[in-house]
Amino acid sequence: MSFVTGRSIPRRTFLRGMGTAAIGLPFLDAMSPAFAAAPKTPVRLAFMYVPNGIDMKHWNIEQEGAFGEFPRVMKPLEAFKNDMLQIGNLTHNSGRALLDGAGDHGRCAGSYLTGIQVKKTTVDIKASVSCDQIIANHIGNDTRFASLELGMDDSRQAGDCDSGYSCAYTNNLAWRSETQPLPPILDPRALFERLFGDGAVLSPEEKARQARYRRSILDFVMSDTHTLQTSLGPTDKRKLDEYLSSIREVERQLEKAERESVVIDPGMPKPYGVPPDFGEHFKLLSGMLAIAFQADLTRVATFLMTREGTSRSYREIGISDGHHPCTHHQGKPDLMEKVTRINEYHTAQLAGFLTTLKSMKEGDSNVLDNSMIVYGAGLSDGNRHLHEDLPTLLIGRGGGYFKPGRRIIYRKETPMCNLHLTLMDRMGVHLDNFGDASSPLDPASLT
């Protein structure tokens, strides 16, 4: 280790173990030299996407300005009223047909972060570099991982997933180039290994064997941990304990998921180790994302909570119908109610992630304060496939930039890409244009 030779610990310090782990550290007080300017706290950005639109009647807060009563779908986020902005009237024109006929699900997912109308094809796919990857290209060298791509559903990259649109469009958010999407990691163990392991790709059998005999990854870095602890004050010691405990907790959840994976219905298209329960799966992935943000392993992430157009059922909350068929409810109250409940369930999961981020202290603030979590969908009304007034939350203060606790309504047809320009700017990427943006969002409206 190199960090115990001076008074301060470098920001990018890893606890290392033989042949395995390299665990990044959260921000510790000891990383601030006594007489030097405090290091700049990084700002993180994550896009968390839900498919098939949202029940807008129970999503939109009526009045512009300070939040009043939250509607049903927003209710689970009540504890974060003062941490978020609800943004109205953002539009993705490139998600509309524009002469390309049916395929709103394929288009809206493909355009969500790329800002362009993707090519209608199942063969020679073509999109554009997504805004998260533009940022990752710009700041990715500052962290161990330029970006993380997470998902919880079908990861097929080929075939027709919507009216002639390739599955590459519905099943990815991040695009490294016009033709190269970045498939999300679905398997929590794979994410764990990527974050903390040696990066080797193991077969399911190897993973099972390793899981059966392995010790905690923390055991491997025990020596480094002890050495570090001797140089820390009590506050940092407590912070380090909490951090390592959170990693251990993820390990335990993983082991549990892997034990239970053997009873997964083989008809479900799930890779090995993916928990059958949506909430458990989300908790694992989002928990590791939170740790990755806390330890500054990455500052950019996309999280496809489920793929666009998914027909996943939610037996966890007693809904056996597929999500997508429910959204085409045609005004039938029972189906509309199911959509609302699925939307509520999603925001309840999000609340858990936000709780974790907010609990992660970082100097005088916390990781949530220093993040920009965009939660939303590429359709508003899933029944009518509308691409305007897209449901959008901007959660976190982006390092003290945003003034949350309000609903902001922009003029109709305001390009979603205007938000992307703003977010890129906050991440240090200053572009004049992106997609169909007309300008960045008015800073006066956000701060």
């Binding site: 024109n93 002469l99 390309d100 699900h105 008809g267 009518r384 003029r411």
Partner: protein, 364 residues
């Protein structure tokens, strides 16, 4: 929206950008656009006002809703809507002074004391940036199957040109721009051009399709007849266009109508309603006057009244401007009651079916 690629082209789509706060003919043009659409000769793809004015936006909304109805409050909540029902308006922190007579139309009361016309535009947030709206709607048109009619300041179109990537998009989608501004070959300053000379110069210099101008002299030679207001609009007890006409000036009078000439030419460039000048270049002077310089390679022309066509054109104006709303699905909303009743008698219940959807069930 149009049919998909590879299918027959529908009638030309027209985006109207007019100064409703100051020009009666811009309001008449909304009515004419409805008439053209009801005859299947053109489609309305966007209505914008070319100066930032809330009253003008409200009037445009009232007129548009009178003909098109309101978007359906669909299942799941009355959110979103069709972009072709949104009014475009330039961005700006303050609103220009509204023309009092036109604004007065909005305060008219019905016999029972309720507002005669109600607009869904309460604030600027209920409108769209005109440049973005026109760009978005152009992208939904078949190549070369759109036209833009400007009857007011060119500020919005100048901003459209400034949008990233817009010039090739305009060049691909729009066949022409027809502007009801200036005077040709010479004439007095045009207030619309004078209000934003830089924007007008940018549009004339950079617009990537041919531009055809309908000057004030053409509008004066082919006015909209005031007699039409009392005789041709009787099918509706309350009509926002007729009411605006009456409010604009003491009746009777014939209204200069260069916006109608521009719109008619945009829809029917080959019908011979007007003579065309030789090609050339239109320059905008500092005081808002226009100067036409002939040149073989010029992309600009102006329309010239053809005395042989006067009666035909005026008759067409009357028929198109006074046409009732075109048959369509019943819409809920707050448009003109008579027009809605007429629609309800003619049309089928609203279609509520979802769009075609090619989502496939998950593959095991």
């Amino acid at each position: 929206m149009q049919a998909g690629r590879g299918t027959a082209k529908p009638p030309i789509g027209i985006a109207l950008d007019g100064d409703l706060g100051a020009r009666l003919d811009a309001l008449l043009a909304i009515a004419m656009l409805n008439g053209l659409a009801s005859k299947g000769e053109a489609r309305k793809i966007a209505v914008c006002i070319s100066r930032s004015s809330l009253k003008a936006a409200q009037l445009a909304d009232v007129a548009t809703a009178f003909y098109s109805g309101r978007p359906l409050p669909g299942p799941g909540g009355a959110v979103g809507g069709n972009p072709d029902t949104i009014i475009g308006m330039p961005d700006g922190p303050s609103f220009a002074t509204d023309n009092p007579p036109l604004a007065a139309v909005l305060s008219q009361k019905a016999a029972d004391g309720t507002p005669q016309y109600q607009s869904a535009v309460a604030t600027a947030l209920d409108t769209a940036d005109d440049a973005v709206l026109i760009r978005n709607m152009l992208l939904a048109q078949n190549d070369g199957n759109a036209a833009i009619v400007l009857a007011g300041p060119a500020s919005g179109l100048a901003r459209l040109l400034a949008l990233y990537g817009s010039k090739p998009q305009i060049a691909t989608k729009a066949a022409r721009l027809v502007v009801a501004v200036g005077a040709f070959p010479s004439g007095p300053p045009d207030a619309a051009l004078a209000s934003d000379v830089a924007a007008a110069r940018k549009v004339f210099a950079e617009w990537p399709t041919p531009i055809v101008a309908a000057g004030a002299e053409l509008g004066a030679a082919l006015p909209y007849p005031g007699a039409s207001i009392e005789s041709d609009f009787a099918w509706s007890k309350a009509h926002p266009i007729a009411d605006a006409y009456r409010a604009f000036k003491p009746m009777p009078y014939d209204a200069p109508a260069s916006a109608l000439a521009a719109l008619l030419y945009a829809a029917h460039p080959d019908e011979g309603f007007f003579k065309l000048s030789e090609p050339g270049t239109i320059a905008v002077l500092d005081d808002g006057r226009t100067q036409f310089t002939a040149s073989a390679e010029g992309q600009h022309r102006y329309l010239i009244a053809d005395p042989a066509q006067t009666d035909r054109v005026i008759k067409l104006y009357r028929g198109l401007v006074s046409a009732p709303p075109m048959p369509r699905a019943v819409r809920g909303g707050r448009g003109n009651a008579a027009a809605q009743q007429q629609q309800q008698q003619q049309q089928q219940p609203p279609a509520q079916a979802p769009k075609p959807d090619g989502i496939k069930p998950p593959t095991p």
